[in-house]
Symmetry: C2
Subunit: 147 residues, 2 copies
DNA sequence: ATACAATCTAAACTTTGGTTTAGGTCAAGT
DNA sequence: ACTTGACCTAAACCAAAGTTTAGATTGTAT
C-alpha cells in the first residue's frame, strides 16, 4: 500500500502521514528503490495505536517516545506498560471533565428553553434557585461546586 | 475582585484572563477610574461557562460568538439554545471516541502485562487471535472495527 | 518514448492559544 | 511624598501540529 491508500483508509491526510514519519512515529517503513513508502499491515497497526493515543490527547513527542521504546525491544516493556496505565488515567480524567461540562450545558439548555417559551430571557434570569425544578437545581449545583 | 483573585479562583493565569478579555469573551467588565478591571459575580458566572465550553473543545472564536449573542439580547435566544444542543452532541462524540480509545489501551495493557510476565514480547506478539481470553479478544475486535 | 498521476523533499507558512517582555500606571500603607 | 505590589497595554514571542508550496522523481499505461 502507498501513502494515498493509507490516507484514505485512516482518514489522515497525506501530509500528516509524512509529518508523522518525519517525526519518528512511523518507524522503519519500507521504501521502493525509487524511495516511495510501502506500507504493510504492521504499519497500519502502528497507525491504529498512533491515532488512538493522538485522539486521546497524547502529544506527538510522547508518541514518538513510545515508538522509540518499541524499537528498543524487551528492556522497555515496563515503560510501555506504565505508559498505558497512565494513559488510561488521562482518558478517565478527560471523560470526567466532559461529563461535568455536560451538566452545565444541560442546565443552560433548560434555561434557554424557558427563555424561548417566554420569548425573553428576563424571567428565567431573575428566577430564584428554589424555583428551579429539582433535577435542574441539582444540575446547577453540581456544575457550581468548585467555585 | 481584581484579576489576581479571579486568577486564583478560576485557575486561569492572569495573562489568559487578559487574553480572553481582549478577544471579547469577557464583555463589559467594569473598570476602576484608573483602568483596573473590577470583576463581579456575573463575570465569574461568565467565566464558568467560558471554561466549560473551552474544556469541552470549543474554540475561542466560537465562544466569542456566543458572548456576542448574549450581549445582543432576546433575539438570539434560539441561536444560543441551538449552540448548547450542538455542544451536547460534540461532547457525547468526544466521550464515545475516548471510550473507544480506552478499549485499545486496555488491550495493550493486557498485552504488555503478558510480555512482562514472560520477560519478552515475543510470545504474546506471535499469539493467535483465538488464543486470547474471550474478554480480551472482544476488546481487540472492538478496537479494530473501523479498518 | 511520452504522458500522467502519484509520490518525494525541504522549507516556508498557518492557526490556535496563549506567554513574555518592556515600559509604564494605580492605589494602599507608612 | 514615597515605596511597593498589583495592575495596565502593546507587541513580540512561542510551541504544537500540521498545511502549503515549489520543484524534482517515480512508475504505470498508452
Amino acid at each position: 500500500m502507498q501513502i494515498g491508500e493509507i490516507s484514505k483508509k485512516t482518514g489522515l491526510s497525506i501530509s500528516t502521514l509524512r509529518y508523522y514519519d518525519k517525526h519518528g512515529l512511523l518507524q522503519n517503513i519500507n521504501r521502493s528503490n525509487g524511495g516511495i513508502r510501502k506500507f504493510d499491515d504492521k504499519d497500519l497497526e502502528a497507525l491504529r495505536i498512533i491515532i488512538c493515543l493522538k485522539t486521546s490527547g497524547m502529544k506527538i513527542s510522547e508518541i514518538k517516545q513510545f515508538m522509540d521504546w518499541c524499537s528498543k525491544g524487551d528492556t522497555t516493556i515496563d515503560k510501555r506498560l506504565n505508559m498505558f496505565y497512565q494513559q488510561e488515567k488521562n482518558i478517565n480524567e478527560q471523560i470526567d471533565i466532559l461529563n461535568k461540562s455536560l451538566k452545565l450545558i444541560k442546565f443552560k439548555q433548560w434555561y434557554y428553553e424557558a427563555a424561548k417559551r417566554d420569548g425573553t430571557e428576563k424571567n428565567v434570569k431573575d428566577m430564584n434557585l428554589d424555583d428551579y425544578p429539582d433535577d435542574i437545581r441539582k444540575l446547577y449545583e453540581e456544575a457550581h461546586i468548585i467555585w
